[in-house]
């Protein structure tokens, strides 16, 4: 029996089976390339019609300048709009240490950053439409430039409210810093998504869900949530 795995196989005369495998591989790659070309051509040739997709879902995630996320909350829109206020943020925004109102819709935020660092933001509300939307924009002294919007829209069939959070920001230390923060679970997108779910939990159940419970892992406490 031929031994394909011995180091000597393939030395001297080329193994015909290995050659056949390489040939088949090249053929597949060629066919794949041809299909890819055809798809690309088809894409550029077609007539685009206006999409109904939310604008924050357009483009590949890696190419987006902003982040958007919606959740269904089983409560009336008016209740949720009323609950979305600075004083209540620390209840569901896990990484928010403090929000200090500076007057005129401007507030100074202290949030937890990667590696135990604290980050300070200064944001001003640019538009607020009762029971519909709140938009904000950071001031020049903010350590991270950011802007965003939270929207409240009736969900169909009496299901409550769609709450959408849209966030754009300049990641500190560029893309690499963003990746590092993501790995440390302190990246604004990760934080925003989780905080949005905490808001939902708080509004629907009256408490923020916690899996805090014992384990045989010495590093964990039975009163702290864990991953």
């Amino acid at each position: 029996m031929r031994d394909f795995f011995s180091p000597s196989a393939g030395r001297g005369t080329p193994d015909p089976l290995a050659l056949a495998a390489v040939g088949a591989g090249l053929a597949f790659a060629g066919i794949g390339y041809a299909f890819w070309r055809r798809m690309r051509n088809a894409e550029t040739d077609r007539d685009d019609i206006a999409t109904d997709a939310p604008h924050w879902t357009l483009d590949k995630p890696s190419a987006r300048a902003l982040f958007g996320k919606s959740v269904l909350v089983n409560r009336p829109r008016t209740d949720l709009f009323a609950a979305w206020k600075v004083e209540r943020f620390p209840e569901f925004m896990e990484n928010v240490v403090a929000v200090e109102p500076l007057g005129g819709g401007t507030a100074r935020w202290t949030i937890k950053g990667p590696m135990g660092r604290e980050v300070h933001l200064v944001n001003s509300i640019t538009e607020s439409i009762e029971n519909e939307t709140i938009s904000w924009q950071s001031e020049p002294e903010s350590e991270i430039a950011n802007s965003g919007e939270v929207r409240f829209a009736d969900a169909p069939a009496g299901r409550g409210t769609y709450v959408t959070l849209i966030l754009a920001y300049d990641p500190p230390a560029g893309k690499l810093g963003r990746l590092g923060a993501k790995l440390l679970q302190r990246e604004p997108e990760v934080q925003a998504r989780r905080d949005l779910h905490r808001f939902k939990q708080l509004m629907e159940t009256g408490e923020v869900t916690s899996n805090a419970s014992p384990s045989a892992r010495k590093s964990e406490s039975p009163v702290e949530p864990h991953i």
Binding site: G206, E207, S213, P214, S215, A216, S221, P222, V223, I227
Partner: protein
């Protein structure tokens, strides 16, 4: 406290861990009086369920006495309760639709990302069942923290012993849900794959829901005997070609409904299962769905397939064309336990279910590691194990008739 912990594939140990505490207003703490080992605990034991972490406390079938309550709990200290394995908030879209196992709040923000990545949407929370379902400590322990304790726990009247009601936590409602999902019509022939505890409750439920006959399939004589005792006709797949036998028992058309109470680790020396075994060994597939493949092929055209059996991910060689061409209806899912709790407790009180014949062993919590070994390796002798935190190590009680099977 003492707790049964998962330490890796085929490694279970009883460890001393911190006591649980009240964390949220709606919490309660129970002192466990009885906790069973579930067939799905074997999937954890065999390392088939992704998202387990070393040191996790396992166990999702438990009952006990309320010893502490948060300000928002409706329970009172001293009450005896059985706790559904599914954790449900009671107020989200899904809970309002009574799809309690799909609760959108019980899987916390910290663990839902991974679950969403694998499943498309985050699964609901469950006790002692990996971090994809929330990473909550389970109830094979002296104490357990129960979140949303005003929604799930079933208060048990004093005159009902633990053994009669413990299975309200999972396997009884799971068997019932499996039969409900089979949309049984009066006089139907229903085939049930697997005569483990869920299969045995499915057989009883199918008959209660109007099935004309139930045909049960397994290979362990003790389990087949229990199925027969509960009113099923039985097939030992080691003796017959199951599909041929089912066809010949139904005039060639096949059963009206087929229920897979086996799940992701089918037994059986068949080519498809051997291939699955090899692949699973190298983590290239997550399932060995031989029973489900057979159920789909066996089912009559236009029939129904119900899947209470647990699956974890992507299956190989799934008979999709057969499903489509035969026009089968498939229903599945983790059991929305809270939907059925009240009715099933009443049915237990009315003597509709035999909840105790399947119990083969009572053992101390301290002997959990040994019990998992038996549960895994001796499924003929061990048909259901109940762990008791109160018993002293070594005080294992086997049921007489089971002892010399």
């Amino acid at each position: 406290m003492r707790a049964v912990t998962w330490q890796g594939r085929h490694k279970i140990s009883v460890e001393t861990v911190p006591d649980p505490e009240i964390v949220n207003p709606r919490d309660a703490i129970l002192q466990i009086t009885s906790t069973a080992i579930c067939g799905s605990d074997l999937h954890l034991y065999d390392g088939y369920i992704p998202g387990m972490r070393v040191g996790d406390i396992v166990g999702h079938e438990f009952m006990g006495e309320v010893v502490e309550v948060g300000s928002g709990s409706t329970l009172k200290k001293g009450q005896r309760v059985v706790v559904p394995f599914t954790i449900s908030c009671g107020s989200c879209f899904f809970c309002e639709k009574q799809q309690f196992s799909a609760c959108d709040n019980s899987n916390p923000s910290e663990t839902r990302d991974a679950s969403e990545l694998l499943m498309g949407h985050a699964m609901g929370g469950a006790f002692g069942y990996a971090h994809l379902t929330g990473g909550y400590a389970g109830g094979q322990a002296d104490y357990v923290r129960v979140p949303y304790s005003d929604v799930g726990p079933v208060i048990i009247p004093d005159d009902l012993p633990d053994d009669d009601v413990l299975f309200l936590s999972d396997i009884l409602p799971t068997g019932w849900h499996a039969a409900v999902n089979a949309d049984i019509e009066p006089g139907d022939t229903v085939a049930v794959w697997g005569c483990g505890p869920v299969g045995l409750f499915t057989i009883q439920s199918a008959l209660l829901l109007g099935a004309g006959r139930v045909i049960a399939i397994d290979h362990f004589p003790a389990r087949l005997r229990l199925a027969k005792q509960l009113g099923a006709e039985i097939l030992d797949y080691k003796q017959v070609d199951v599909r041929e036998a089912l066809n010949e028992m139904t005039g060639g058309i096949g059963p009206d409904a087929c229920i897979d109470c086996v799940g992701m680790e089918s037994h059986g020396f068949t080519p498809d299962n051997i291939l699955d075994q090899v692949k699973a060994q190298y983590y290239s597939v997550t399932e060995r769905p031989h029973a489900l493949r057979q159920a789909i092929l066996a089912c009559r055209k236009g029939g129904r397939v119900s899947i209470p059996g647990v699956y974890g991910g992507f299956a190989d060689k799934f008979p999709l064309g057969q499903l489509m061409e035969k026009g089968l209806t498939v229903k599945s899912g983790q059991t929305p336990v809270q939907k059925y709790s009240g009715d099933l407790l009443k049915m237990i009180q009315d003597g509709k279910f035999d909840t105790t014949s399947l119990v083969s062993h009572h053992a101390p919590l301290e002997d959990a590691a040994e019990m998992y070994r038996h549960w895994h390796g001796e499924q003929n002798e061990y048909t259901k194990i109940i762990l008791k935190p109160g018993l002293e190590k070594g005080a294992i009680e086997a049921k007489k008739e089971m002892a010399h099977v």
